[in-house]
């Protein structure tokens, strides 16, 4: 290497291009940009030497400096060969930094990047799941098309890995491979299909993300997993929740019929509806109601509700949009509280949330009315937040609260932030048009503002008054006179133009003033803004038609000025007006109608919310924020007229269930019960055992694909011990459910059971009833008391216990009972028990 470096130095001195090229191809890939870095050469030289050294500390130092260069955006690609050698370093930190480097530059130096591949391939077979995962992560991040087959193979293998963490990384890798080579789509969909069946909460979020990116249209892949996803949702990590909720929203819109038909626009009747919407009633009163919600639809709505309490704003927003788009209108109300809570958050979060609230509040005022005061503007809010809040206040304004609001607006108008003050005036205008009772008050208030010292405020007021007067051309002569006087002082073009237009329109109501205004304007015509000039021409034309005796000469004078104006629009308009109004021999039939043309009734402008048209975008999306379709936006479909077959979501566990239940039927409740209650107490010990799990890796994973199969079996002895004592504790609770339970032989009787249960058990068990669909009976029974975490713990900690049972022959009968309980929760486990049983007997 030293000879190499020598050669570089020489070349940088005065090397010829050809030589340089040769040298480059021999050591560094052709894409290395040489010329640029000749100045850095010396520095890089010593980095290279450090990387070559034997000492880890020197290497580490060099790598840190290189990463520093990458972070600053400097090119460090020519160090590639030196760096890539260290990919197999024993030192973890060096290794990590090499990975960082590799991922950054592999795309540019494809040939050399291949050198590192074998290292990863080896690591993919490592007994430690975390090393396998990280190898897959880096391997899939190297964007080199040649290795696509290798990646594909690695992903396939990893998707069947015993460790859910590795499977999670496989899901991530799917997206990377897809973006590298979209032709692999078909194969990748197969993998996605497989991973969607995964029961681990770790995998769920990532695989749905992959689904959304690779094949969002393959909604059929979701059917079988729908209930499982709904049930897992609460335990998935927060980022995964967002993705899953958005996907399920789309799913629900294609698979269920609209829950809105009945109560469309029935905001007032909300109360009645609430009563009838109560869950039990909905079930029992089935015959009375033409529409009943698909239980799966209800499941989704119910299971997402607790997530409104998430600390993550994105999750809350996701649930909010889900409710908005798929829940019955009467239930949407519960999201408003949570959304208002988000307003306490950072400026950026506020911005997005306020936008969404603005859209919602147009359609459904009632939702946010109780929180009106939360949208009051503070002087410290950034302008964009202020204007959004104003928008919402406008939407919420009604007869009852308008007087309070107007008082509040008065403060805003005085704000030092003039842009905001102007926005407030527009808001007042909109309130005035929407609520007819206050139109006069608003108009008077606006007229007062005309004497404001600030020009922007006055100008905005004029514009708004113009619009208001146009809408109700009653007797407003006074205001128009007042405004005519203002013409002397106002300089803002829009305002001047508005006043002129107003006078022109109402010239017959103010016959004395109008010609005088025209006279003044004729004097200042040349120095006016184009916008104002056009309006002067209009005013002239209108007066000429109505009052030609006084204004004929004035108008002609103005038309002459306009004829030689610099702006062609104005010259054009002048010609047009002259032909139309001044009678001459050439003027055609049109001039007869000049008066009708100029003084026609003009439709009043509609003061509308800028958020009016945003509701066709799904809430909470980027497209909604931008009000344009963003790349990759997936349209929410309309509700289907007739719901597609709901049975596609049934998971075929019924068969398996029957296979196993008879054995344990008699003693069904108690043994299962023990496990759960006991596991709650033992939670900690089993938790800590996850340590040992990771160390032992999944080396011993021959028997099953359960989540943590190799959870230390020593744990089981203690659990076995406490087994009997806890049984009595829970016995009494059990009886309450027994009657309903004994009926429930198979999942097909779900509907009935749900009825029964909702009567007998408290609200929290409502969730559990639906759980049965995808998981076993025992699983759902525990629901009502044991928490989600402990549930998971239980699953994993149960396996060793059972293993123990099986080993001790005496308790064989018992073990069968337990087996029957479990089969539903993880089908894979079943097989492992076959093997275990066989061995033990």
């Amino acid at each position: 290497m030293s000879s190499n470096s020598f050669a570089y130095n020489e070349q940088s001195g005065g090397g010829e291009a050809t030589e340089l090229g040769q040298e480059a191809t021999s050591t560094i890939s052709p894409s290395g940009a040489f010329g640029l870095f000749s100045s850095d050469l010396k520095k890089n030289e010593d980095l290279k030497q450090m990387l070559e050294s034997n000492k880890d500390s020197a290497k580490l130092d060099a790598m840190k400096r290189i990463v520093g260069m990458i972070a600053k955006g400097k090119n460090a690609s020519e160090l590639f060969p030196a760096v890539v050698k260290n990919v197999a370093s024993k030192n973890i930190e060096i290794k990590k930094l090499v990975y960082v480097y590799l991922v950054r530059y592999a795309e540019e130096q494809q040939d050399l990047a291949l050198l590192s591949i074998s290292t990863f391939q080896r690591a993919l077979k490592d007994p430690n799941q975390l090393i396998r995962a990280s190898a897959l992560r880096v391997l899939s991040s190297i964007r080199v098309p040649i290795i696509v087959p290798i990646m594909m193979l690695a992903i396939k293998e990893a998707s069947a890995d015993l460790s859910p963490y590795v499977r999670k990384n496989a899901a991530h890798a799917i997206q990377k491979l897809y973006s590298l080579d979209p032709e692999q789509k078909e194969m990748l969909i197969e993998v996605i299909e497989k991973l969607l069946k995964d029961k681990s909460t770790l995998v769920a979020g990532s695989v749905v993300m992959a689904f959304e990116e690779v094949c969002p249209d393959r909604i059929d892949l979701i059917h079988k997993n729908y209930r499982k996803l709904c049930n897992l949702l609460v335990d998935v990590e927060e980022w995964g929740q967002v993705v899953i909720i958005h996907m399920l929203t789309r799913y629900a819109r294609t698979q269920f019929v609209s829950p809105w038909k009945e109560d469309d626009g029935l905001e007032d009747n909300e109360k009645n509806f609430y009563e009838s919407d109560d869950e039990q009633k909905e079930k029992t009163d089935q015959r009375k109601k033409p529409y009943t919600m698909d239980p799966d639809h209800r499941l989704l709505i119910r299971n997402t509700k607790p997530l409104l309490q998430s600390r993550n704003a994105a999750v809350v927003m996701a649930v909010a949009q889900l409710y908005w788009h798929i829940s019955p209108k009467s239930e949407v109300g519960i999201i408003s509280k949570s959304l208002v809570r988000l307003l306490r958050s950072n400026r950026e979060v506020q911005y997005i949330v306020l936008q969404n609230i603005a859209t919602m509040s147009i359609q459904r005022k009632g939702m946010f009315e109780p929180y009106l005061k939360s949208f009051y503007v503070r002087s410290t809010d950034p302008t964009m937040i202020k204007t959004l809040k104003l928008e919402i206040l406008t939407n919420l304004a009604n007869e009852a609260n308008i007087s309070t609001l107007l008082r509040e607006f008065q403060t805003y108008v005085k704000s030092q932030d003039k842009q905001f003050a102007a926005a407030t005036i527009q808001t007042i205008g909109r309130c005035a048009t929407n609520i007819s009772e206050v139109t006069d008050t608003c108009l008077n208030g606006l007229v007062c503002l005309l004497s404001n010292r600030d020009e922007i405020v006055v100008a905005e007021s004029v514009v708004v008054i113009k619009k208001l007067l146009q809408m109700q051309p009653a007797q407003h002569g006074e205001i128009i006179k007042h405004m005519a006087k203002l013409l002397d002082s106002i300089t803002v073009p829009v305002a001047r133009a508005s006043i002129l237009w107003l006078i022109g329109e109402n010239c017959e109501r103010v016959p004395k003033i109008a010609p005088d205004v025209l006279r003044k304007m004729a004097k200042s015509f040349t120095s006016e803004d184009d916008l104002v000039k056009l309006q002067i021409l209009n005013l002239g034309a209108k007066l000429y038609l109505t009052n030609s005796r006084q204004t004929k000469l004035l108008t002609q004078y103005i038309l002459n000025l306009g004829k030689y104006d610099q702006n062609y629009d104005i010259r054009d308009r002048t010609r047009f007006i002259r032909q139309l109004i001044v009678p001459n021999e050439k003027s055609g039939a049109l001039s007869k109608y000049a008066k009708k043309i100029f003084l026609a009734q003009k439709p009043a402008p509609l003061l509308e919310s800028p958020f009016k048209d945003r509701d066709h975008f799904q809430l909470g999306t980027l497209s909604h924020t931008l009000n344009t379709k963003a790349t990759g936006y997936l349209e929410l479909s309309n509700w289907p007229e007739v719901a597609p077959d709901p049975s596609v979501r049934n998971v075929e566990v019924i068969e398996l269930a029957k296979e196993w239940t008879p054995a344990g039927k008699a003693k069904k409740e108690n043994p299962a019960k023990k496990f759960y209650s006991e596991s709650e107490e033992e939670e900690d010990s089993s938790d800590s055992s996850s340590d040992s799990e990771s160390e032992s890796g999944s080396a011993s994973g021959e028997q099953d694909e359960g989540d943590s199969s190799d959870d230390s079996s020593e744990e089981s002895s203690s659990e076995h011990g406490s087994d009997s004592e806890s049984a009595s504790e829970v016995g009494d609770k059990r009886t309450a459910k027994r009657n309903s339970k004994s009926k429930g032989k198979s999942d097909s009787e779900d509907g009935e059971k749900e009825n029964e249960k909702s009567k007998t058990s408290d609200s929290s068990s409502a969730d559990s009833s639906s759980e049965e669909e995808s998981s076993s009976d025992s699983e759902s029974e525990s629901e009502s008391e044991s928490e989600s975490e402990s549930r998971k713990v239980t699953k994993s900690s149960m396996l060793p216990v059972m293993a123990l049972f099986v080993r001790e022959r005496g308790s064989k009968r018992k073990s069968q009972i337990i087996l029957s309980k479990l089969h539903g929760s993880c089908c894979g486990v079943k097989f492992s028990f076959y093997t275990l049983c066989r061995r033990s007997t």
């Binding site: 990590k96 991040s141 950026e348 005061k373 410290t380 030092q416 936006y633 340590d691």
Partner: protein, 418 residues
């Protein structure tokens, strides 16, 4: 999802870039700079900026813009929330999050970012897991590292990611087992000219510092849980237990974390603990204006109000102010027109006041609006809503932990219109 991240300081330099997918040229930030120029103030830069091929989503914190580049549809809050999480993580790691600190620790920053996202999708965002993967730099560790040559990268593997309680590291050991909970309530209020309350609400959080060995399972109950109208939880809290029993049941993360934030129901009238008397007047003719404010305690339940700071953005026409405070110190910045008065404690016997004159621009007309006064204060040992923790129990571990609960009330966005 997230393609790249650029960190931009207030003078418009990109001082760090990180790419999770293929490299996006930094020239994409030009669109951001354009928007920044248009917005005049950093606060007004729109958080979402569309460009022809990308979308730029940014957050502004600690005088740094964190600009994420994305290419396809994604819930904007997803990205924004993540960026905030990044900032929180930096703060957690380095104590402060500022440009020099990030530059000094660029390698750690890079390693952390690498772990937080995989292919633009969040991978590990829990600080407990991250700290296990990459140890935060401390002075001691830096010294040790230079001597022994060991590293900041944890040699353990992130076992937390695999466990069912991903927020807690495993194998935690302490000699003193302690759990502290701070109940902090903030009053957001707008008080109008005459002193009546326009809007007031109480938002609270419970911040916890838990240093307990092993896997403790805690439950926290309140005397009056009905007060809590709307709550949001750390993921460790069990929803169902709260719904049915109004008890917080959780396995805590190790170290500092925010257990819960809540909103006190609107029916309860909020006791406003301070009042501000003000007399600010500009006269049309003269170039002098009068300025006088007094701060006093109102409903404090016998507690002292401390840490009082009064700030006010004066109108542009004010050239300078000559004021004398009865206590504390005050400053007026003639450029930004920001008046700030650090009052300190309020002694009910001798109310603090600030009096004096303002010199106005000669010839300029008098400002339309009197300035709004922003107030900050603290009251120790008081939760203004009356919320009280009933008891804290620990299950699952044998030892007896030391438990502590502290209450505090602060001013949130507390404004007095004049």
């Amino acid at each position: 999802m997230i393609h790249s991240l650029f960190l931009i300081n207030s003078s418009g330099d990109i001082f760090l870039e990180k790419h999770w997918k293929s490299v996006v040229s930094r020239s994409v930030c030009d669109y951001f700079f354009e928007a920044q120029e248009r917005a005049t103030e950093a606060e007004n830069v729109p958080p979402v900026i569309p460009t022809p091929h990308h979308y730029l989503l940014s957050v502004y914190r600690h005088k740094i813009f964190f600009v994420a580049v994305i290419q396809t549809e994604v819930p904007p809050l997803f990205v924004i929330e993540f960026l905030h999480r990044v900032v929180d993580t930096f703060q957690d790691y380095f104590g402060v999050c500022s440009e020099p600190v990030i530059k000094d620790n660029v390698v750690v920053v890079y390693e952390v970012l690498e772990e937080m996202l995989d292919n633009g999708f969040p991978l590990a965002t829990e600080s407990n897991i991250l700290k296990e993967l990459i140890k935060p730099p401390t002075i001691l560790r830096t010294v040790v590292n230079t001597i022994t040559g060991s590293t900041n990268v944890g040699d353990q593997l992130p076992t937390g990611q695999l466990s069912v309680v991903p927020w807690r590291r495993t194998g935690v050991k302490y000699t003193n087992n302690e759990a502290y909970f701070d109940v902090i309530e903030e009053i957001d209020a707008i008080i109008d000219k005459s002193g009546s309350t326009i809007t007031a609400e109480i938002q609270g959080v419970i911040d916890a510092c838990v240093k307990l060995t092993g896997m403790p399972d805690l439950t926290l109950s309140f005397m009056n849980p009905r007060l809590l109208d709307d709550v949001s939880f750390h993921p460790c809290v069990r929803f169902k237990r709260w719904e049915s029993e109004r008890i917080l049941s959780f396995i805590p993360p190790d170290g500092n974390f925010r257990l819960l934030s809540y909103h006190v129901s609107a029916q309860n009238l909020v006791a406003i603990p301070v009042y501000v008397k003000h007399n600010i007047s500009f006269r049309d003719s003269s170039s002098l204006g009068r300025f006088e404010i007094t701060v006093g305690p109102k409903q404090t339940m016998g507690k002292t109000i401390e840490g009082v700071i009064v700030t006010s953005q004066m109108p542009k026409g004010v050239l300078n102010m000559s004021l004398t405070p009865s206590q504390g110190t005050h400053t007026f910045d003639p450029v930004t027109k920001m008046l700030s008065w650090d009052v300190g404690k309020i002694n009910p016997q001798k109310l603090p006041s600030l009096k004096g004159t303002m010199s106005l621009q000669a010839g300029a007309s008098k400002p339309d609006e009197n300035p709004t006064i922003n107030l900050q204060f603290k009251i120790q040992q008081l939760a203004i809503s009356g919320l009280k923790v009933n008891r804290l129990d620990m299950y699952g571990e044998k030892y007896k932990p030391f438990k502590g609960i502290k209450y505090m009330t602060k001013a949130g966005k507390f404004q007095v219109r004049t």
